[in-house]
Amino acid sequence: MADRAFLSRFTPSRTDPAILERIFVQREALARDTVERVRESVLTGNKHHLLFIGPRGSGKTHFVSLIHHRIAADDSLRDRMRIAWLAEDETTTSFAKFLQRIYRALADRYPDEFPRVAIELLQHQSDESGRAALLSRLLTEKLQGRTLLLIVENLAELFEGMRERGQQDWRAFLQENPTTTTLATSQRLFRGISARTSPFFGFFQPEHLKPLGLDDAVLLLRKIAEVNEDAELASFLQTPTGRNRVHVLHHLAGGNPRVYIILSDFITRASLDELVGPFEKLIDELTPYYQARLKRLSPQQREIVEFLCKSRHAVPVKEIADRLFISHQTLTSQLKDMRENRYVEGRTVGREARYELQEPLMRLSVEVKENPGQPIRRIVEFLRAWHTPRRLEQQLRETDPRLDIMCSYILERHRDSFDPYERALDINPQLVQGAHDRAGALLNLNQWDQGLKALEDCLHRFGPSEHDDAGDVESILHLAFAHSEDEAAWRNRLELLVSTYAKAEALVYLGTGLVRSLKSISEVAGNKDRLADWRDVWHDLGKGQEPLEIPLRIFDVGVRYLQTGDRRVLLDLVREERRVLAEALGLDSEDGSKGQR
């Protein structure tokens, strides 16, 4: 494996453009379209003003760097445009200062055409209007009819800094000198361009950058592995297991490309498979970044964030106000600000608005300080099990040659299938799936004691982690529920089951099965009380079993949701858990609520 290529995590413009091209995923069509629009702007009078919107780490700078690279390399445009790429994060408080930044960027790039000495005259202009007028003339004169390609990052901050007066000045400048085309980015859509009363209403063409889908995330990691010549990792990422591991990351981190860039710095085939280690390291790497972001908040806003972290569910506005002793009016204004800056997200169900942190990773990075390791380990292990496809589904996808045995199982011809299992295991005692299926068949035949013994034997012999295989838990639970009529019988059987999985250190698989089986069990439960009894038994049995903590919480909310049909109940879970429940219950969205505008 070669030395890792340099991939700047926070300033992709510092990364070698050739590498940016190689690891570019998902947005090629948009990039081609953008280049065409810039080309048209340079070559004709049709000047486009493009704005790419996405939260931090969504790949805006990567995208803009790539467009810049392609445009700058186009010989047909070279003599007809001048590029001013404004340095990121420089505060601009007036239109004159904005023009000064543009001129300086041009002077850095084209020192002969835009001599720095020319702006020294500005020292004699004491007022902003005079400086702006002077700079406008200077720029227009020096451009000599060429098109100015202006690249601006954080447009919202620029607008905020220039205030309405600066915005009006800029728009008038553009109207009177239609020689500029703009490539801008912003973390959010903001009133300066979206409100009809703003000077720039409708002026920019906003394009929301979509988060990476799971396949895009897998591809990004694979491309980076290829750049790093890590063939083992690249190859693992093409397997179903590799994809499943990335699925866990995607579940928690979403489609934020920066997360995958950071992760790519330290994952290997082995660590990605194991997952907990790299995820802990990822959180560790992100913690200073999140701390820096939290420091930008006012003390009161930080207090709100900390409260939301500890709450571990979406919290009603009233509850936040009561607990933090903040007036409703002040809280509403603080939440609005934090929502616009993508710290929190509001959910409205009915007339109730609830808030939670927008990024689960931010919450986890705060949580981990108070309880090192545990929250991350638990959720990653649970999701790792959750995103391991159920054995039969996976085997069917892979058209396994032992399909006939499985078909017997699927078709519930358990008695017929029993003998083939026995024969298959005689021939190959290491046939893990066959062993599990044999246990499943016994349980299906209501031979509970023998079935559990067979299951215990499988778990003991093969262990769950080696094959990600802990039996068809969903089906086993369904049988346990359906074949017993009363709570006492359930309790007997489930105690044995929990003990079997606990001994094999496979409780997390029991947990995923518990959540997965919820929907089918509720369908046969007949009445709500029976489902509640089932939940109560599980609560008793799950006490003190750490791996069951997360699944039981999801299960509990799921039961309450099925009993009441009230979508607000779903908001009692954090987002990553809510998503699991939505998947288990087949809900259209994770909470069925509308995000607040």
Binding site: A29, L30, D33, E36, R37, E40, T44, G45, N46, K47, H48, H49, F95, L121, H124, Q125, D127, S129, G130, A132, A133, L134, R137, R165, Q168, D169, R171, A172, F173, L174, Q175, E176, P178, L189, S194, A195, R196, T197, P199, F201, G202, F203, F204, Q205, P206, E207, K594, G595, R597
Partner: protein
């Protein structure tokens, strides 16, 4: 040409508007003009086309007043623009230039500045500049295109107070009255009447625009809107089984607004969709239903309390009624509809006054029979969706 919603289009690509432009020049022969328009209907494009192709006998000075924030800046900007555009005139003696020097005006690297102080030199500089230019241009007639004047008046009102904003309006009116060959064409993104109403609240009693003619910029003529859509479909290379039918659908669904036409085509392009009438309709529906409100149509509802303080519930009732009515409604039916929702409402004059205001703010249009309907079908459609009607 690619779709470019909100961007800057070259003059030779600005389609249509010929009849409107001819009307505007015809009117300017007699009177100055206040051009009213909804945002993004293309008024600046109209100005640019007029400026690029003025009829013989006209001299045009065009300015975007958005960057002007004080009365001094206004006068110097006009003086500078006039001087800058007339190099020969610059070298000759003229009254405004002499005045500028006499009062201690400065010029650094081509940037002009009036001396600070209480003296209101801007008035004299402004009137003399116009006088000079009118004299210099004879026998041509002079017209100033002043775009975004309401923004300038708002800025001046905020920074220098209502009194200065009022003085500007009065000076401009007196200049118009004194110079027979001088015309103004004023326009802006926000209605001048809203700026005036704020000034009136501060005891301004004059009617500074009552010697000017109101001209409304309407959407494109349907054939021009279709032609624009056709060109954009071609420019974007959108697949289409019938480009003519698709262009017609885009023009219709976009109310013949250039901005909406560009937006629809851009949306089709960025979504990788074909230009087909059904797809166009679905795209517009999704724009109207989008929680992100990409066309900021919510503004039409949100501005009601500030535009019609105290009357907002009546306005909502009027608009709700018209959004669900399949034909223009006479005043009597609107009055009856209002009374079904607000039993206590009995003031017909108040209704007439509200209808007039709604007409002026581009919510409503009036048929030759005096019946009212939504001015723009697209807004009506959005209103019904948004209000759950």
């Amino acid at each position: 040409m690619k779709s470019n919603p909100g961007g800057q289009i070259p003059v030779d690509e600005i389609l249509g508007r010929d009849r409107l432009i001819a009307d505007l020049w015809d009117t300017l022969h007699r009177l100055s003009v206040v051009m009213t328009a909804e945002r993004r209907i293309g008024k600046t494009s109209v100005l640019r086309k007029m400026q690029a192709e003025p009829p013989a006998g006209w001299f045009v000075v065009s300015m975007d007043l958005e960057r002007v924030h004080t009365a001094n800046e206004f006068a110097t900007a006009v003086f500078d623009k006039v001087r800058d555009g007339l190099s020969r005139w610059k070298q000759t003696a003229h009254s405004a230039g002499k005045f500028f020097s006499d009062i201690g005006g400065t010029e650094i690297a081509g940037v002009l500045k009036l001396p600070e102080g209480k003296d209101r030199h801007w008035k004299t500089l402004l009137t003399r500049t116009v006088d000079d230019l009118v004299t210099h241009q004879r026998p041509n007639r002079l017209v100033f295109f002043w775009d975004e004047m309401p923004f300038m008046l708002q800025s001046i009102r905020h920074r220098e107070g209502e009194e200065t904003a009022m003085e500007i309006l009065d000076v401009l009116r007196s200049v118009r009255q004194e110079a027979a060959d001088f015309r103004m064409l004023v326009t802006g993104s926000i209605g001048l009447h809203h700026v005036l109403s704020r000034l009136k609240a501060a005891d301004y009693t004059n009617a500074p625009f009552n010697d000017m003619y109101d001209v409304e910029v309407t959407p494109l003529e349907p054939p021009d809107a279709e032609e624009l859509a056709r060109r954009l479909i071609a420019g974007e290379g959108l697949p289409s089984s019938d480009r003519g039918a698709a262009a017609r659908a885009i023009a219709e669904q976009g109310d013949c607004f250039p901005y909406y036409i560009h937006s629809i085509v851009k949306r089709l392009k960025s979504s990788g969709l074909a230009a087909e009438p059904g797809v166009v309709a679905a795209t517009v529906t999704s724009q109207l239903n989008s929680p992100d409100d990409p066309w900021e149509l919510l503004h039409y509802r949100e501005r009601i309390p500030s535009y019609y303080p105290g009357d907002d519930s009546f306005v909502l009732a009027i608009l709700d009624h018209l959004a669900t009515s399949d034909r223009p409604e006479p005043v009597a039916r609107l009055f009856a509809a209002l009374q079904t929702q607000h039993e206590a409402f009995s003031d017909r004059e108040r209704l007439l006054s509200l209808l007039k205001l709604l007409h002026r703010d581009h919510y409503l249009a009036r048929t030759p029979e005096g019946h009212y309907t939504f001015r723009f079908p697209l807004i009506r459609r959005w209103w019904a969706l948004d209000r759950g009607l």
